[in-house]
């Protein structure tokens, strides 16, 4: 990572030399990137590219073989609690316990994340994610779209500086998904937070993300503005570029005008 000036505010997320190996198999190769304030960065790639492995390492539930994760300048390995107090996440594979109501889940996780004035915060999130009428309904009986909204409400509880979203709109209908994208966009631009977003919906990525990182076989293959990147690589759309990354990663790497740059784009 390039050195920051002494008075500079650190990026919300700085990943440097991140590597995860399982024996001889390397899942993530020396990944370096950053997410700045008010920035939404898309982490894209085919299944098995290393996106979830990367997110798990940023969340501290998977120990990197090498490298460092810094959240607002805090080294995750050394100051885990302080770093994760500034972080939150929603993932399609991590629903909240189905045997608690929405309000109960939000209260428990609000206490874990040290949220002040928790009751009004929960009320505000219930309204924001249109969950008020399900307040005392157990999460397990909600539809998948409603559960996704609950997971997003939990992810917003502590107004995280770093928000990690793993396919946050995968279970939502187009209208609700658009609404959620608008809210997350407003969240990122309104405060001093940054968002790392994974999605397989390229239309969504183009609409939401300021910058994308294309991952293939655990490496960053391409990086840039999702609206200009396809044309720079001779593709007509982001989806076409995604398919090329999935099918012909080596050819694309050779075409890349510049080597993938670490840090802020």
């Amino acid at each position: 990572m390039p050195a920051l000036p002494a008075d500079a505010t650190p990026p919300v997320l700085a990943v440097s030399g991140l590597r995860k190996a399982y024996g001889e198999t390397v899942a993530v190769h020396d990944l370096s990137f950053a997410v700045g304030r008010n920035e939404i960065v898309g982490l894209l790639g085919p299944n098995g590219a290393g996106k979830t492995t990367t997110i798990n390492m940023i969340l501290g539930v998977l120990q990197p073989t090498a490298g460092a994760v810094r959240i607002e300048g805090l080294d995750l390995a050394r100051r885990r609690t302080a770093a994760l107090e500034r972080t939150n996440f929603a993932a399609v594979y991590a629903p909240l316990p189905g045997n608690l109501t929405i309000a109960q889940n939000l209260r428990v996780f609000g206490m874990i994340y040290g949220v002040r004035d928790l009751t009004p915060r929960i009320d505000a999130l219930l309204d924001e994610f249109d969950l008020r009428r399900f307040r005392d309904v157990k999460c397990g009986v909600l539809s998948s779209g409603e559960q996704t909204r609950v997971a997003l409400a939990k992810a917003m509880l502590n107004r995280p500086t770093l928000l990690l979203l793993d396919e946050p709109t995968a279970s939502l209908d187009p209208a609700t998904a658009q609404d959620i994208r608008r809210r997350i966009r407003a969240f990122a631009t309104g405060g001093d937070s940054g968002v790392l977003w994974t999605s397989h919906n390229m239309y969504e990525v183009e609409e939401v993300c300021d910058r994308v990182l294309f991952l293939s076989r655990g490496r960053i293959l391409l990086e840039g503005d999702p609206r200009t990147l396809p044309a720079a690589h001779g593709k007509s759309s982001l989806e076409e570029l995604f398919i090329a990354v999935a099918r012909e990663p080596l050819a694309l790497a050779a075409m890349a005008p510049h080597p993938p740059a670490p840090g802020l784009g």
Binding site: Y22, V61, Q63, L84, Y93, A94, P97, N99, F109, I112
Partner: protein, 267 residues
């Protein structure tokens, strides 16, 4: 360590128990049934033996205290299993919650649930069979404390086993008290055991408690040194169990086990 985070785990457990008959009843029904069953067995044995001392404090007291230890262990493991069953590890371990706060929450939950079980057992044992813990005098407090600490150690150890081996391994955890009880001499003096089992018994804190309890029930006195050894051993087991849990958690973070626990839910 932040108290609010510890209390969040306790609150979660409270919400679950409050809203579920299947969680409320086991807190006291099985221990009450156990006391009734052993109470009548004790009464019957009293009519066919020529025991010099009352069997009630010796046998029924042993059942009560052993059930208490079991409830403490299960209090910890049940609270942990709630996260296993609801595939909640990723949400819990990817949060600012520290391992000490998490385990502290499990232990506080166990204190609450095992206290309910103990009170119900005392109520049934005294009302129906005339057992009073006052029979043992002030030594009942170290008895309970030693059993509580050892129960916590077993609970933390059992939780670590499930974290390491996966959800199906809970079947290794339930029989732990049954495996320990023959060595702990719950119902008979340690002298009854063969030499090698007595050697194992000397390493188990409950064996000192039950030997002392029988001595008191027979009108004798306890050896203060025995309870000091029991307390010291219980502390050692707590430390070992905590160390084991931390080791298993580190392994789970290194290998991705925690993330995989959640991934199973969509497999």
């Amino acid at each position: 360590m932040r108290l609010a985070r510890v209390l969040a785990i306790v609150l979660r457990q409270f919400y679950l128990i409050r809203g579920s008959v299947s969680r409320v009843l086991p807190l006291f029904v099985w221990v009450a049934v156990d006391i009734v069953l052993w109470g009548f067995i004790t009464k019957y044995l009293a009519t066919v033996t020529t025991a010099r001392h009352s069997l009630v404090p010796a046998l029924l007291g042993a059942v009560l205290l052993w059930d208490f230890l079991t409830r403490v262990m299960q209090g910890v493991t049940m609270a942990f299993f709630e996260d296993v069953w609801s595939r909640n590890f990723l949400n819990v371990f990817a949060s600012p919650l520290s391992l000490a706060e998490y385990v502290g929450g499990l232990v506080l939950s166990a204190i609450a649930t095992s206290t309910i079980g103990l009170l119900v057992m005392l109520l049934v044992a005294s009302a129906v069979f005339g057992l009073s813990l006052a029979t043992y005098g002030a030594t009942v407090l170290p008895f309970v404390l030693v059993l509580f600490l050892f129960g916590i150690a077993l609970g933390v150890f059992g939780s670590a086993v499930v974290l390491r081996l996966g959800p199906a391994a809970e079947w290794f955890v339930w029989p732990i008290p049954a495996l320990v009880s023959p060595f702990a001499g719950v119902f008979y003096p340690l002298a009854t055991l063969p030499g090698w089992m007595q050697g194992v018994a000397r390493l188990l804190p409950p064996s000192y408690v039950f030997e002392s309890m029988r001595a008191l029930a027979a009108g004798g006195t306890t050896q203060p040194g025995a309870l000091v050894i029991a307390f010291g051993l219980a502390i050692v087991y707590i430390v070992l169990a905590a160390w084991f849990f931390v080791r298993v958690h580190r392994h789970a973070v290194r290998t991705g086990l925690i993330a995989r626990y959640s991934a199973e839910s969509i497999a």
